[in-house]
């Protein structure tokens, strides 16, 4: 998870290093938009905007969905990333609980040993 997170973070940083891409994120924060909309808004060619959108999508900052001939961009993780994040969240919760439960089990084992010794004496 650490490796996964840090490579994702690297991608996010390099995606955010460009002023146009930061503008695109800000724009998508207000509303979803097609690549054509974005290209017009930022006075760019469609090809240029496609590249920026690709970088943002790779970094997991936005998702795109093609409906008919229009590709719409929106902020946020893809379905797969969301699922992975969900599982990891859930795992972290149980892992933290089970770490504490480990301690309780160890303590009960020690107690049982001491009690057993007392009984034999």
């Amino acid at each position: 998870m650490v490796q996964y997170a840090s490579s994702r973070l690297d991608a996010s940083f390099s995606a955010l290093s460009d002023i146009t891409r930061r503008g695109v994120l800000e724009q998508l924060g207000r509303s979803d938009a097609s690549i054509t909309d974005l290209a017009n808004k930022f006075h760019m060619t469609l090809t240029g905007m496609k590249k920026h959108v690709g970088v943002l999508e790779q970094a997991g900052l936005i998702t795109t969905e093609k409906v008919g001939r229009v590709r719409t961009c929106k902020l946020g993780l893809s379905r797969l990333d969301k699922e992975a994040a969900w599982i990891e969240r859930y795992r972290q919760l149980w892992d933290a609980r089970f770490d504490e439960l480990d301690n309780v089990v160890e303590e009960l084992k020690r107690k049982e040993k001491v009690d057993g010794r007392k009984k034999r004496e």
Binding site: V2, L16, A85, R89, L93, D95, A96, V104, L108
Partner: protein, 170 residues
């Protein structure tokens, strides 16, 4: 996803695995270094249960924990400081091997939790199984993606602020 395996500490700590078995089911497993009767005790005595159910990292604590562990018996957990409560009924209680309970705080049709304890060579394989009424209910469950998204966006906000600050300076 597999990358996290490399980051597990190499101590005695056993691995916690989580899997979505179906659209409505999620399963968490872990092996404990003790007999089933001890692990079962930690799940059924309120004084023990409350010590691990709310890990410190959750930033919450339990105000009260009542458990009447028998078929048809009720349980109720209340959190501090806001008094948020979790409650339900035990459907099955088989000493040292199986617990089933309902989670009724969300109204009817809440998830059903089944916990099994399987002892092998002095160790216990614990399996926690949650069955939800629908995929949507499971997606929205307490530790859901929504929290992760909030965190992701909080991090993004921080990044953007940091970048703005550095642009402002230059």
């Amino acid at each position: 996803m597999d990358a996290r395996r490399g980051s597990e500490p190499t101590t005695m700590k056993n691995r916690t695995t989580v899997e979505r078995k179906s659209e409505r089911e999620v399963v968490a497993t872990r092996t404990f270094n003790g007999p089933a009767r001890i692990v079962f005790e930690a799940w059924t005595k309120p004084d023990l249960f409350r010590r691990w159910w709310v890990p410190r990292s959750m930033g919450m604590s339990l105000r009260s924990c009542e458990m009447d562990v028998r078929v048809g018996g009720k349980y109720r957990l209340e959190f501090e400081p806001d008094g948020m409560a979790f409650f339900g009924t035990y459907l099955e209680v088989t000493p040292h091997s199986r617990l089933v309970w309902t989670n009724d705080e969300g109204g009817e049709g809440g998830p059903v939790t089944t916990v099994t304890f399987e002892e092998k060579g002095g160790k216990t394989l614990l399996v926690v199984h949650e069955l939800h009424s629908s995929k949507e209910a499971l997606d929205a469950a307490g530790t859901g993606a929504a929290d992760a998204m909030v965190e992701t966006f909080a991090q993004l906000d921080e990044l953007l602020l940091a970048l703005d600050a550095s642009v402002g300076q230059s």
